[in-house]
């Protein structure tokens, strides 16, 4: 049996885990191609207008896998740590896709539920039961599939913390490589903040990463910091934050500003992204009080290339000029 994993949303976070797990269950895994014009316009056509662009793209990726696979993998990721949630869209995703599945002639959906909200270890049983019920595996085989998947994910995260990005590690993820590189001493460290499904999707962000590298950015991304450090850093608000992925973003910006790790931050957020719309207030406040230049870049399916290039050029130019007087004094 062939199972399709849409190259969207949590793909950039958990692909090694899911791919290994499904392969160990004896399934062939197929991923959809990089987001392209056709995929995005499919998604935009089908999805509810007010949804954020990454969810729209997800619909498109599901459609791109039609006819190529026997089932689509659309897990319901409710919570990935204790006393926390992911964005509500992840909770409702299988239902949202199921609502259009007949109409679009999508293959059947595989929708295991992952919920670690009450008990952090519970997701193991959720996956073991999924393997038993859907594919008739024994508990022992399911456990060994799970262990292989956990190892793959650990290796992935180790490489990320060592400084590589999901674009380097996940197969064929880059839309474009930078055409030239600016000399090391002229580069600026720019923190690229945002959800992996926004910043690493080259088509949705108009090739943002390659463009920044061409403009002389040494990119720092949240994935380069250990998860525990991010969580620790995100505790400067009077209440436990309950969105894990936004907590990581908060943690990253706090970590970067506190340790002076970046010269500036570009914060990529999707239009109508619920969590980002509120977390934005906290992030912008943090950057302001720590005197780190921050540019919020809102993207959606209508984002124009020219507008984006102009804005990041202006921002990087500003960073370049900002440091010059200081160097002159030195």
């Amino acid at each position: 049996m062939r199972v399709g994993i849409p190259r969207s949303l949590l793909y950039y976070k958990y692909l090694p885990f899911w791919k290994t797990f499904l392969a160990e269950l004896g399934l062939e895994v197929e991923t959809s191609p990089l987001t392209n014009k056709k995929i995005l316009s499919w998604g935009v056509e089908v999805a509810e207008n007010e949804l954020c662009v990454p969810v729209k793209a997800f619909y498109g990726h599901c459609m791109a896998l039609r006819g190529k696979v026997d089932a689509l993998f659309v897990p319901r990721v409710v919570s990935v740590e204790e006393r926390a949630y992911t964005c509500p869209k992840f909770l409702g995703l299988p239902d949202m896709v199921a609502a259009v599945a007949d109409q679009l002639e999508l293959p059947p959906l595989l929708t295991p539920k992952l919920n670690q909200r009450e008990k952090p270890r519970e997701f193991k049983w959720q996956l073991i039961n999924f393997a038993r019920e859907e594919f008739g595996l024994s508990v022992l085989d399911a456990v060994s599939a799970l262990e292989a998947a956990t190892r793959a994910q650990k290796d992935y995260q180790k490489s990320l913390v060592a400084g590589r990005t999901p674009l380097d590690l996940l197969p064929a993820s880059r839309l474009n490589r930078p055409r030239w590189k600016i000399e090391k001493k002229e580069r600026k460290r720019i923190g690229l903040l945002g959800h992996p499904y926004n910043i690493y999707d080259g088509y949705i962000t108009q090739n943002l990463i390659a463009r920044l590298e061409e403009m002389g950015a040494d990119l720092v991304v949240p994935e380069m910091t250990d998860h525990h450090v991010l969580m620790q850093e995100a505790t400067d608000v009077p209440k436990q934050l309950y969105w894990t992925y936004e907590k990581e973003i908060m943690g990253a910006v706090n970590h970067w500003t506190r340790n002076r790790m970046v010269d500036g931050v570009i914060y990529v957020l999707a239009f109508a992204c619920g969590p980002d719309s509120l977390v934005q207030v906290l992030i912008e406040h943090r950057a302001r009080t720590h005197n780190v230049p921050l540019m919020s870049l809102t993207i959606d399916e209508h984002s124009g290339e020219a507008g984006l290039v102009t804005r990041i050029e202006a921002f990087t130019d500003m960073l370049m000029r900002k440091k010059k007087p200081a160097e002159a004094v030195a």
């Binding site: 006393r83 239902d95 609502a99 309950y242 719309s277």
Partner: protein, 366 residues
């Protein structure tokens, strides 16, 4: 200490009662108006949901009236509501206001923390037992308010003299505010209901039966939806609404405003949305199914623009609509929304519903 709280529908009646019993000075912000929203929207993030913008407006007006302590309800996700407090405090402090900020987290999250919040408000004499008793009486009052508002939505469609029901409601509200003990509240509740029932009605009138579902703030706060329910009533539409303030505070259990337990609603939603997605996402789907089964003519879904749980529901509604053959009108609101546009769309929708019913009646006669 002068406490203020944002408005939400008739929640302030309940708060008035509660703070009175606790002996806390309550600065009631002026009723929400366009001015409130303008102030709030100016200082809120652009893509935040409408309720947050109105909250900010209420808080600023409350602070300007001399409040020094702000109370905001908390929550633990996954919808944006649980983050409101953190963000609102940040925004107001950045504006230069000085105040004490208190988040009232749900009772289930920790009874001690919940009690502590009230203990700080009313130090010294408040025991856990006393607090529980006070909350219970105030809650009874809240339920009585819900009952009379619920009845109003149904009676208004049949009223003979335009405006009679609204006048009776104001009278009934006054009656309830003056009730103090549980017995008095129950007594006043019965009399208030009778007052509304006694409005001169035309039982022969053929009315449309419309369900209102969606996100709680938009449903509970008439300002935010341009008083849609009253307008619908005057157009001769019988209304039931899926969420009420007492349901919202303590859902499930005994608060069956229309006789349906939360589990039944969730069960009806299950084939379409089989998980809680925060807010009223699941309740919206479940209520639509229930109302369709109870032969409502149509459904109106209200939500703030960008509301996450409701957007999930909106994505699923087309399938529910097809399966149950019920028309649904979705209306999203933000500070740019104009009343005329909303009313025009609602009128067109009602035309559609009348036409549908006309056609089906012809069908049965033939």
């Amino acid at each position: 200490m002068k406490v203020t709280c944002p408005h939400m529908g008739h929640l302030h009646w309940m708060l008035d009662d509660l703070f009175g019993r606790l002996g806390v000075e309550y600065v009631k912000p002026p009723p929400t108006t366009t001015k409130t929203l303008t102030i709030g929207a100016k200082h809120s993030p652009e893509f935040a949901c409408l309720p947050l913008k109105i909250n900010i407006g209420n808080f600023i007006q409350g602070l300007d009236m001399g409040a020094d302590t702000l109370i905001m309800a908390g929550g633990h996700g996954p919808c944006r509501f649980g983050y409101y407090g953190i963000v609102e405090e940040r925004i107001l402090r950045d504006l230069g206001y000085d105040f004490r900020f208190m988040m009232l987290e749900p009772f289930g999250d920790g009874k001690w923390a919940f009690y502590k919040t009230f203990e700080t408000l009313s130090p010294g004499s408040l025991s856990l037992r006393k607090l529980w008793k006070i909350l219970k009486v105030s809650f009874t009052k809240g339920r009585a308010f819900d009952q009379i508002h619920k009845r109003t939505l149904q009676v208004r469609a049949y009223e003979v003299n335009h405006g009679d029901t609204t006048r009776a409601l104001r009278e009934a509200e006054k009656m309830l505010t003056q009730a103090f003990t549980t017995e008095e509240i129950e007594e006043a509740g019965r009399e208030a209901l009778a007052l509304i029932d006694n409005v001169e009605q035309d039982p022969e009138r053929r009315v449309l039966k419309v369900g209102i579902v969606g996100e709680f703030f938009l449903l509970l706060e008439p300002f935010s939806n341009f008083g849609l329910e009253e307008a619908l009533g005057h157009m001769g539409v019988y209304i039931e609404r899926s969420v009420w303030v007492t349901d919202w505070i303590a859902p499930g259990r005994d608060n069956k405003i229309y006789g349906f337990h939360k589990d039944i609603v969730d069960g009806k939603a299950a084939p379409y949305l089989n998980h809680n997605v925060g807010g009223e996402g699941r309740e919206t789907i479940g209520s639509i199914v229930l109302m369709a089964e109870r032969k409502f003519d149509g459904i109106i879904q209200l939500l703030p623009f960008g509301c996450m749980p409701e957007n999930i529901a909106t994505s699923i509604i087309p399938k529910v609509q097809r399966d149950h053959d019920i028309p649904v009108l979705t209306l999203a609101f933000d500070e740019q929304t104009g009343r005329a546009g909303v009313i025009t769309r609602v009128e067109a929708f009602l035309d559609l519903l009348s036409a549908r019913r006309g056609l089906s009646l012809v069908g049965t006669n033939a």
